[in-house]
């Protein structure tokens, strides 16, 4: 017979929901407690009544009394112990039911282990009793409660046994009475939460052992932690359990840890709190976010409490704190756990488990039959029988052949060279001044940052990211289109085939071959955008989250394609007119207003997010039909009508795609295809119309044909959607009818598709591979010019266009143009342009002097050299040939020039050498900076700003009043202001677009297990 005496102490607080089962479990124990005491901390429900009904003696206490204090009070009511080592306290929660053998197993375990002072049961979920909650607990270094379990871990006995742990939950914990009294019970500062970890920690450093006995099982509802009841303890400010939980977590760590690691712990706790607060803000749970911060603050403002706690612990610490080290999870374990959770979360979202449990009764299973059924063969190559896998494999193979000249750092067509790393892109975005040509203060569009962020996938290597993007573009186009097309047909071969047509459509080919990054992103995002806008007519019912998400998607596409704003504006204009008419021309109509609000969000928020870059459309509306990057002309309206962009890198006209024909045919369809066809034809005709115009692109004064790629891209996608909708189950319909116009139409579409497939793919793998976009190691400037970082060079380069040789120029600063720079390239400088024109038309007698005024040191005529131009420059005077090589001819401007020209009061002109932003002047005088004038340019001397004027050449000139060191800088306050504004708007939109987090009280019981 056991000599152990057990006193069960049941702490009750508004636990009527769970109490009946808890009490029943106490009563049904195979080894009954010798004494049962219930402490009720001011329950307002029927808890006391229930306890009295079960004839359990109840001690009533105040509602604000904490858990530890209640237990200590109960212990104090017990008679003095006779055999201290044999007397045990069994701590019970009102929301935790114990298995009938729990106490017996616990006592059995402690009986065999005399050094054990605390033993706890395996805790399982209250609702799902196969779900493991705790098998011992610890504390992570960030204060998080650490169970070591996977999320929703299923109990299959994998954790079973008797294990040493740091602590056990107080729910069902068996504590030796003498140890409890020796340690002073639970810490009074921990009214609720983490008192268990703290007690276990203290027991450990006092030389005792804490074990988990999994044979003993408890089912815990965790009512306080899951906010199933109010937390009314006095430390729980505003009844906030999370605040109390976090505060107590930090308290336990700081009170028990070695003094040497306290600074690190404080930093870790603060950083963790801030990080989690941001997370809660994004999850739209500001209450939880404030709890995180307040928890740490409440500790910091009361250091005396902590100091006292550490002193108290010192009295009972008999062994080193290092004894608990094995129980504290390592950072690696914590990281792995977080990663596993994140991956699992993504996996569940991306690949939901569709396996359905057969609703067959176990009684219906024929075991013999089951045994006789041969195991299904799952050869790996059977995956290729899936349409999307088979088509994707073909697309990848074709892409590799097509892209054979694109393995490496890409440039050409509309795509500029990639910078060294993504940091350069961020710098370009943040900078208020760009060293492009004569300098530019234009604001950088946000797509530059997006590319920079995306380059993190390749460890910041932008060139690699761009190369991979263009290489994988056909596959990505296939997948994005296929994902959307699955909505319209269950025929996998049809949707995969249509996806392949999208991937190799004329517009996709043009986008890839000509390096149109913006258009490519549009084509990748268009299926997502179309899906988001599919129920446009129900826009008034869209939630704030959906509107915000769609707005962000539109902004993303707009950032890469300015014409998206034109599309959205047009769509909104027509929709608004229709809505107004439908609302009976009553603008106060609630539904009309609701729709207008959402339209305005979709239109203006992307515009604001792109500000101030987007404001440029007010000065140059033609930017609305422009593209990002280096301008590349479109092929004109007739090519556009063939759904082909035309121009550089496009399919030749004879590769006629079936897309336009599909749109025309499906327009007569009686299915949903007609809706898409109507919209597709609208986009196509808009593209055709716009293609007949010319516009001036980035960094050029020469107008070129508008490239209406986004419109043709939208028409292409809509044509493919219409085709899929029309072809879905067409076979069955055609079989049922006699030969009629439908048969002819379908046959012609199929025939044209076959023709297009043959011609387009043949072209792709032959001439099409020789695209303007290619991997190149060519240099724009000769090496000796590239070395002179501060020297500006006029680069003249001839191009052949329709048989005529045209000459273009730009000012280089010793390096090629990189990604994003064409978008901020400055407007034309009239004086400089005339001087450069004079180099060619023989009127530039003063060109040399003008170029020198602008700090231009060299003129470089790139090969193929135009002899008459070379002769003209030779004959103009003011230039001396520096080199003539196979790459071109370089002339040096004879007049001395540089970035900083200083003229002292005696009229002596000197070129200053600057080191970074600093330069030195000997005398007072005027300093001219060879950069385009901008209000931001400032020269500081002795802490004062030098007076500034704009000289006749449009350059900033400063009055230097004394000799000495000066510093030259471009003030970027306005830019920083815009970036701050952008961050605020973007954060707001992201928060609104993200799924809202749920308070624990909002989580269903079944989800909580």
């Amino acid at each position: 017979m056991s000599t152990q005496r057990v006193t069960a102490i049941l702490v009750v607080h508004d636990g009527a929901t769970w109490l009946p089962e808890t009490v029943a479990s106490i009563a049904s124990q195979t080894r009954s407690a010798d004494r049962v005491i219930a402490i009720d901390t001011g329950s307002v429900d029927s808890s006391t009544k229930l306890l009295k009904g079960a004839r359990i003696p109840v001690i009533s206490m105040d509602r604000e009394v904490g858990f530890g204090e209640a237990v200590t009070h109960a212990v104090s009511q017990l008679p003095p112990t006779t055999d201290s080592q044999s007397e045990w306290l069994w701590i019970l929660h009102d929301d935790c039911a114990l298995d009938k053998n729990a106490l017996e197993y616990l006592l059995q375990a402690v009986a065999e282990r005399p050094n054990v002072a605390v033993a706890g049961p395996k805790l399982l979920g209250w609702h799902d009793r196969t779900h493991l909650l705790e098998v011992g607990i610890s504390l992570a270094t960030n204060g998080a409660r650490w169970t070591g379990l996977e999320p929703n871990e299923y109990d299959q006995g994998q954790r079973d046994g008797i294990h040493e742990v740091l602590a056990v939950s107080t729910a069902g914990a068996l504590i030796r009475r003498d140890v409890y009294e020796e340690l002073g019970g639970f810490d009074k500062n921990l009214e609720l939460f983490r008192d268990d970890v703290d007690f276990g920690w203290r027991a450990r450093v006092a030389g005792h052992s804490v074990i988990i006995v999994t044979a003993a099982r408890g089912f815990h509802a965790q009512a306080s932690a899951t906010e199933r009841r109010n937390v009314d303890v006095k430390g729980a400010l505003l009844h906030r359990p999370l605040l109390l939980d976090r505060r107590n977590a930090a308290y336990v760590l700081l009170a028990n840890s070695s003094i040497w690691i306290l600074p690190l712990l404080v930093i870790q706790l603060l950083a963790g709190s801030i990080f989690r607060s941001i997370g809660y803000l994004f999850a739209k749970l500001p209450g939880y976010a404030s709890d995180e911060i307040l928890a740490v603050l409440s500790l910091i403002i009361k250091p005396a409490e902590l100091i006292a706690a550490r002193r108290a612990r010192k009295l009972n610490r008999f062994i080193s704190s290092r004894v608990i080290a094995p129980f504290i999870p390592s950072r690696y374990q914590q990281f792995r756990s977080s990663l596993t959770r994140a991956i699992e979360s993504f996996r569940v979202k991306l690949l939901p488990d569709h396996s359905e449990v057969a609703a067959t009764s176990a009684l219906e299973i024929n075991e013999d039959e089951d045994l006789l059924t041969p195991a299904a063969g799952h050869s790996w190559f059977r995956i290729f029988t899936q349409p999307i896998v088979a088509v994707a494999t073909v697309v990848v193979a074709l892409s590799l052949v097509w892209s054979r000249h694109r393995f490496g750092s890409l440039s050409g067509g509309a795509l500029a060279l990639s910078p060294q790393n993504s940091v350069d892109l961020f710098k370009l975005y943040i900078a208020s001044w760009h060293d492009v040509a004569m300098g530019s203060g234009l604001s950088t569009p946000f797509w530059v940052v997006l590319v920079g962020i995306a380059s993190f996938l390749t460890l910041g290597n932008v060139a690699l990211f761009i190369s991979l993007l263009f290489l994988a573009a056909p596959l990505l186009l296939l997948l994005s289109a296929h994902r959307f097309l699955k909505r319209f047909s269950s025929n996998g071969w049809l949707t995969a085939g249509a996806g392949a047509l999208y991937a190799f459509s004329p517009i996709s080919i043009a986008a890839i071959n000509s390096g149109r990054l913006g258009l490519l992103i549009f084509l990748l995002g268009a299926p997502f955008a179309l899906q988001a806008l599919l129920y446009w007519h129900e826009i008034h019912t869209w939630s704030l989250r959906k509107i915000s998400g769609t707005t962000l998607l539109i902004w993303l596409l707009y950032s890469f394609n300015p014409s998206v704003l034109l599309m959205i504006a047009s769509a909104i204009f027509f929709s608004a007119a229709r809505d107004y008419s439908k609302a009976g021309k009553n603008w106060r109509d609630q539904e009309f207003l609701s729709r207008m609000t959402r339209y305005a969000t979709l239109l203006f928020v992307p515009f604001l997010l792109e500000a101030p870059h987007s404001f440029s459309i007010f000065i140059r509306p033609q930017k609305l039909v422009g593209e990002i990057g280096i301008p590349v002309a479109g092929g004109g309206p007739n090519m556009a009508f063939l759904s082909n962009l035309g121009g550089l890198g496009s399919l030749p006209w004879w590769c006629v795609s079936p897309l336009t024909v599909v749109l025309m045919i499906t327009f007569f369809s009686s299915t949903v295809a007609r809706r898409f066809a109507t919209l597709g034809i609208t986009f196509l005709l808009a593209g055709v119309f716009l293609s007949s115009f010319v516009a001036i692109g980035n960094g050029t004064t020469a107008p070129s044909r508008v490239s209406s790629g986004t419109f043709i891209g939208a028409a292409t996608l809509l044509a493919i959607v219409a085709a899929v909708a029309m072809f879905d189950k067409i076979k069955a319909r055609l079989e049922k009818s006699h030969i009629n116009y439908r048969h002819v139409a379908i046959a012609s579409v199929l025939g044209l598709t076959f023709f297009y497939s043959i011609t387009a793919l043949s072209w792709l793998v032959t001439a099409g591979a020789d695209s303007p976009l290619r991997a190149t190691s060519k240099k724009v400037l000769p090496a000796f010019l590239a070395i002179e970082k501060e020297a500006k060079t006029v680069v003249l380069r001839p191009y052949r266009d329709n048989g005529d040789v045209t000459l273009s120029y730009y000012i280089s600063r010793g390096r090629p143009v990189t990604l994003g720079e064409p978008d901020v390239a400055p407007a034309n400088n009239r004086v400089l342009s005339q001087a450069i024109e004079g180099l060619v038309d023989n009127t530039g007698v003063a060109s040399s002097a003008i170029l020198a005024n602008y700090g231009i040191k060299y003129v470089y005529l790139k090969n193929p050299v135009l002899e008459d131009v070379a002769q003209t420059i030779d004959g103009l005077g003011g230039f001396s040939r520096t080199s003539a090589t196979k790459s071109g001819i370089v002339w040096k401007v004879i007049k001395e020039t540089g970035r900083l020209t200083f003229v002292d009061y005696s009229g002596k002109v000197s070129v200053l050498q600057s080191q970074g932003v600093r330069a030195f002047v000997d005398n007072p005088g005027t300093l001219t900076l060879a950069e385009t004038y901008s209000d931001g340019w400032q020269v500081f001397q002795d802490g004062f700003r030098a007076a500034k004027i704009k000289n006749d050449n449009g350059l900033p000139t400063f009055e230097i009043t004394s000799g000495g060191e000066i510093s030259i800088a471009h003030e970027g306050r306005v830019r920083r202001g815009w970036i701050s504004f952008f961050i605020i708007v973007l954060t707001t939109m992201i928060v609104l677009a993200l799924p809202a987090g749920r308070r624990k009280s909002q989580i269903a019981d079944r989800e909580l297990a």
């Binding site: 960094g699 020469a702 060519k778 045209t806 143009v817 038309d841 790139k862 135009l866 030779d874 004959g875």
Partner: protein, 433 residues
């Protein structure tokens, strides 16, 4: 219903296509600048008289030897250049330079725009040579020129000359290829706006042997037409000619020749199938049995070559010689003839062209020239310009001018060709590899 839909579809589609194409046709995206480069005339050196024929006294002109590119109105239709070279903004008019050493020799050539490559076939560098090579840099920047001399011995190592801005340099032919009897000169401009001029002046002791200006050709060709070779006949019979050839390439050339004259077309003896050594001057005597007049020579070769014909002449009792050089296919242009009355000789299989004679009184007269193989027209006195137009394919031409100082020859090549150059546009594309 379906018919209605067809209308809904067809009308906007056709309308948009029509409007778009109409807009598209009016699109012009590139600016071009068209101009005639200024022409440069040979410099007037000591003892020579240089007169330039112009069509207008308002023609803008400047001279080398200054640091300015400023032009001024010439004020005359026949401009006498005292010194230096004249740079003339004559547009599509090609001025004729008539250079003489009074009573000793005369030579003619058309002023021309600077060229990067000029071949001069003719002259000598032996003891009789008084000739010189002039290199004119009409630009305001320094020019670098490479001069290669070919002689009967082969190629002489090229020499490079630097010419200061807007100046010219002269050098004796005898110093370039001492002792060489037969030479050809290649002037290759490495940088700058350079024109080369070669004066072939000869004397034996104090006795002048005549002289001429040698007209250049730009590049060696496989088919050469020399349109006008004057045939002189003395009591002893026809005066002989000498064909000088140079194959500058690395391979010998096999040639054939054809004489076109009023007497018909025939092959001169000893030329057809003849192999010409490369990189050295080869001279072939031509004895043409025909009456006094002009004939044309057409040479075909399997390798590019340059050629000229040396002919002794006698005009107004004065003995002289000329170098008849190759002419390009005739293109429309205007030849300024103020003060000279050239004989125009045209050659071709079927010659057809229109001449417009601009008289000094402002009247104009149109003459249509037709013929086969060869046709001549003597420009009357008082004509200040001849415009060539409506020219049949394959027609070349040259002008022969006679005076009491001697005989001159110039091929009818436009001195300045309309140059269409693209106005450079700012385009960031140039900074992308």
């Amino acid at each position: 219903m379906k018919n209605q839909r067809l209308i809904y579809l067809a009308v906007p589609v056709l309308f948009i296509l029509l409007v778009s194409n109409l807009l598209n046709f009016s699109v012009s995206t590139t600016r071009f600048n068209q101009s005639y480069p200024a022409v440069v005339c040979p410099p007037n050196t000591e003892g020579l008289t240089t007169a330039i024929s112009l069509t207008s006294s308002k023609t803008q002109v400047r001279k080398t030897g200054s640091q300015s590119l400023k032009t001024y109105e010439v004020g005359f239709k026949r401009y006498a250049v005292a010194a230096q070279s004249a740079v003339i903004e004559s547009g599509q008019v090609t001025p004729i330079v008539w250079q003489t050493r009074s009573g000793v020799w005369a030579g003619a050539m058309g002023c021309s725009a600077p060229s990067t490559s000029q071949w001069f076939v003719g002259a000598t560098a032996d003891v009789t040579s008084q000739g010189s090579l002039h290199l004119v840099n009409s630009g305001l920047g320094r020019a670098f020129v490479e001069v290669s001399i070919y002689s009967e011995q082969g190629e002489i190592a090229p020499r490079t000359f630097t010419i200061k801005a807007n100046t010219y340099i002269s050098m004796r032919l005898a110093s370039l290829a001492p002792g060489s009897k037969q030479i050809a000169i290649h002037v290759l401009t490495r940088s700058g706006r350079v024109n080369g001029f070669v004066v072939d002046e000869r004397a034996k002791g104090l006795k002048s042997l005549g002289g001429d200006l040698i007209n250049p050709v730009h590049e060696p060709q496989k088919l050469i037409a020399i349109p006008a070779i004057p045939q002189s006949v003395t009591r002893k019979g026809p005066v002989g000619h000498t064909l000088r050839l140079l194959v500058p390439g690395d391979v010998k050339a096999r040639i054939s020749a054809e004489i076109r004259s009023k007497d018909g077309t025939f092959a001169p003896a000893g030329i057809d199938g003849r192999v010409i050594a490369n990189k050295r001057i080869v001279e072939i005597p031509l004895k043409i049995e025909m009456a006094k007049g002009e004939f044309a020579l057409r040479i075909s070769s399997d390798q590019p070559l340059v050629a000229a014909v040396y002919s002794s002449t006698s005009a107004q009792g004065k003995k002289d010689f000329i170098w008849s050089t190759a002419a390009d296919e005739l293109t429309p242009f205007t030849l300024a003839t103020s003060g000279v009355a050239p004989t125009l000789v045209f050659t071709g299989r079927d010659i057809k062209l229109q001449l417009e004679l601009l008289n000094s009184n402002g009247s104009a007269k149109t003459i249509v020239i037709t013929g086969q193989d060869i046709a001549t027209y003597e420009v009357p006195d008082g004509v200040q310009g001849v415009s060539f137009s409506r020219i049949s394919r394959g027609t070349t031409g040259a002008a022969l001018i006679a005076s009491n100082s001697g005989y001159g020859y110039l091929p009818l090549n436009a001195g300045s060709v309309l140059t269409k150059s693209s106005v450079p546009a700012s385009n960031i594309h140039v900074l992308n590899p």
